[in-house]
């Protein structure tokens, strides 16, 4: 009898814990490049740089716009609008990535830090762009498409 009561007490101890467990949330750095909206986990971004000089590179793909100098270290600049076949960006705003590939992304604008639940994102495993993106989601206030760049750059 005391064993049953003990079990009931144990179960009741677990119930509130389950009831109050929160959905896992993820914070994103939301930015635009031309007409498209993208998002990265802030930990993937080392620095946001504005108005820095670009030095050209020879014989590289057209979406690589040159190299920038950050504290004496070179970062190859990728225009992601150009990468996806859109018009080149004219803005001088860059995200230096923290992925060991010495890459900076040329972007149009930083939008905000946006926090959403895991459930708000859909995996893109079967989508055409799954080589570059992991997930997608809707950010209502921008009415746009939010994607996570694949950190492995597959």
């Amino acid at each position: 009898m005391s064993g049953d009561l003990y079990a009931k007490i144990q179960q009741n101890q677990k119930t509130p814990e389950t009831a109050f467990s929160e959905e896992k949330t993820v914070t994103w750095l939301v930015f635009s490049a031309g007409k498209d909206t993208f998002a990265l986990e802030p930990g993937q971004v080392q620095e946001i740089v504005r108005n820095t000089e670009l030095y050209p590179l020879p014989f590289v793909p057209p979406y690589i716009k040159g190299v920038l100098n950050r504290h004496g270290d070179p970062y190859a600049v990728i225009d992601i609008a150009s990468f996806f076949g859109h018009e080149d960006l004219s803005e001088n705003l860059f995200l230096i990535l923290n992925d060991g590939n010495d890459i900076a992304l040329r972007i149009s604008e930083i939008r905000e830090f946006y926090t959403t639940g895991e459930a708000g994102l859909q995996k893109l495993s079967d989508a055409v762009q799954s080589d570059f993106f992991l997930r997608s989601g809707q950010i209502q206030q921008y009415n746009g498409f939010c994607s996570q760049c694949d950190r492995d750059n597959r």
């Binding site: 030095y55 050209p56 590179l57 020879p58 014989f59 590289v60 793909p61 690589i64 190299v67 100098n69 004496g72 270290d73 070179p74 970062y75 190859a76 992925d99 060991g100 590939n101 010495d102 890459i103 750059n153």
Partner: protein, 138 residues
């Protein structure tokens, strides 16, 4: 361990091209034009560094005296330029190589490493790969 390297340095505006001295067999100044040199059976095929950089960077062609670099290497070739040459010994620690996928991309294009000075950039290059890439682009 070797901590410095001699380079032949050619300035094109804000960009300096550094060619490792160890890859150069001979340097001739005030020589004949590249086309003349290419017709000379004594010299290997000539690649114009000025034309390559003009195509790759959009850099204007300099107007100095011609300098011919006869390069070492199996196939052998000559690089011609009208940029003013200089010899520089540079500590290797001052160069910044790139890493990851950027490195593999740039090495294929003949860029080995960068060195940033006050308002200019120096590119340490593998001339053989740069010439190959330029040839492939024709």
């Amino acid at each position: 361990m070797k901590t410095t390297e001699w380079f032949a340095c050619f300035s094109f505006g804000k960009h300096d091209i550094l060619i490792p001295r160890s890859t150069i067999l001979e340097c001739r100044f005030g020589g004949r034009s590249g086309s003349d040199a290419s017709e000379n059976p004594g010299l290997p095929a000539v690649a114009s560094l000025d034309d390559i950089l003009n195509r790759a960077f959009g850099i204007g062609v300099p107007e100095g005296s011609e300098c011919l670099l006869i390069m070492k290497g199996g196939r052998g070739y000559t690089v011609s330029t009208r940029a003013v040459p200089a010899a520089e010994e540079i500590p290797l620690i001052e160069f910044r190589p790139v890493s990851g996928i950027t490195a593999s991309l740039l090495l294929k294009s003949g860029i080995i490493a960068f060195r940033f000075l006050k308002d200019r950039i120096q590119y340490a290059v593998d001339m053989e790969k740069l010439v190959e890439k330029a040839g492939a682009g024709k």
